[in-house]
């Protein structure tokens, strides 16, 4: 940690980021209020406070949706990475807008009650044992408390004091808050407090957030598997089915010579790419009559052991292969030239 904390470590990027965020919020509020006013039947326009309640609720939900999309987007494309760097400011802004929404709701709907406004909020709908009639306001209160906790602990001070692992765990609560808010909007719509469009948009947003997380998770899992295989010395040659029958793909290891990975029907072989004659690219040749034929001068090698058929004596190195989840893996360590290896069979082609 540095010798001292600062309120915000401002730089040009953060200023621009926050400027765009505030401008975006202003445009969103203006558009929402304007659309709400114009779409209501003449003489039935809601009050300004009610419109502000809806606009702030929609803005907070949209901000949280954007926040949750940024993480997986950055894992899917590095171009989204800069958007993640100042995500905390989006989170704090989201809490403040949600607080505006909650504060206006309490004041407008419960501020004139004879009992405490917060108590009134909790008891105004007593159907806690109902699914469809469950008081959606309580879900919003719970989500607001989580958002508050995250906004209150968003400064670097808390990362240091709580420890990165605990801090991250605490901030994973954002998913619980989002789930509560989706339910808040859906139930509100079901009970006639929010329009069908709001419920539909909440559902689409939840699907978008889920879909991006699943896509990013799959991408990372594939990367992890490839990295794990590579750590053990296995190189990924791509999907087995994409190697044309009787042809090869050429693999370039981080070090060492290139490897030609051939497919012959259901069988996969890997041999050194350089022909023993004049170094021609065997991987650009093809398998004819059971032998790899060099495209330059027609030298032949048996794919299973890298030996030229008698009476010739040339030999190239062979490589171990295997198939994982439909992808051909080739071990980077070459076997001595002429070493016979059993071909790896492609299950889909064999069956």
């Amino acid at each position: 940690m540095a010798a001292g904390y600062s309120l915000v470590g401002w730089n040009g990027f953060k200023r621009a980021y926050d400027g765009v965020m505030l401008a975006g919020l202003a445009v969103f509020f203006a558009a929402h209020l304007g659309a709400g006013w114009m779409s209501a039947p003449a003489g039935q326009q809601p009050s300004e406070i009610q419109m502000l309640i809806r606009a702030s609720g929609a803005a907070a939900f949209s901000l949280l949706t954007i926040i949750l999309c940024l993480g997986p987007l950055a894992r899917l494309t590095p171009r989204a990475l800069p958007l993640v760097y100042n995500r905390r400011h989006l989170g704090v802004a989201c809490f403040l807008v949600a607080l505006l929404h909650g504060g206006l709701v309490v004041l407008w709907y419960h501020g004139f009650s004879e009992m405490n406004a917060f108590v009134s909020l909790l008891v105004s709908n007593p159907r806690y044992d109902s699914f469809g009639g469950f008081p959606f306001e309580s879900l919003g209160v719970a989500a607001l408390l989580i958002l508050f906790l995250m906004a209150a602990t968003s400064h670097d001070f808390w990362n240091t004091v709580l420890g990165p692992r605990f801090w991250k765990g605490l901030h994973m609560g954002v998913y619980a808050a989002y789930g509560l808010l989706v339910a808040h909007v859906m139930l509100g719509a079901a009970q006639g407090e929010a329009g069908f469009a709001a419920a539909a948009l909440a559902g689409v947003s939840a699907l978008l957030v889920s879909g991006l997380h699943i896509a990013a998770g799959q991408r990372e899992a594939a990367r992890d598997r490839a990295a794990a295989a590579e750590a053990e010395g296995w190189l990924d040659a791509g999907p087995a089915q994409e190697i044309p029958d009787g042809r090869a793909v050429i693999l370039t290891p981080p070090e060492g010579e290139r490897i030609a990975v051939f497919r012959e029907g259901a069988k996969i072989y890997a041999v050194a790419n350089a022909c023993r004659h004049q170094g021609g690219p065997l991987g650009e040749g093809r398998i004819l009559d059971g032998c790899i034929v060099c495209p330059w001068h027609g030298y032949q090698y048996r794919p299973e052991d890298g030996c030229s058929p008698p009476p010739f004596t040339e030999k190239v190195a062979t490589f171990r292969t295997r198939i994982r989840e439909g992808r051909v893996l080739v071990h980077r360590l070459a076997q001595p030239p002429g070493t016979e290896l059993a071909p790896t069979l492609i299950p889909e082609v064999v069956s």
Partner: protein
Amino acid sequence: MSASVAEAIWLGLALYVGIGLVAGLGTVMFGLGRLTAADVPVRVRLLILPGLAALWPFVLARLAGLGAPEDRA
């Protein structure tokens, strides 16, 4: 939910926040040196006050020397 339960929740929350504010103010004024060796300016102290009030049981435990973050650099 009955009004009595809701009032109990409200009182519990108010009590928790009240204690938190007192504990947070005390920590901001006298206890930050035991949480971090870094300099914490006044504006940052005000910014972290809500967090101190919300997490006061944790903060008090840390001030008492319990539960140091295991993975702190």
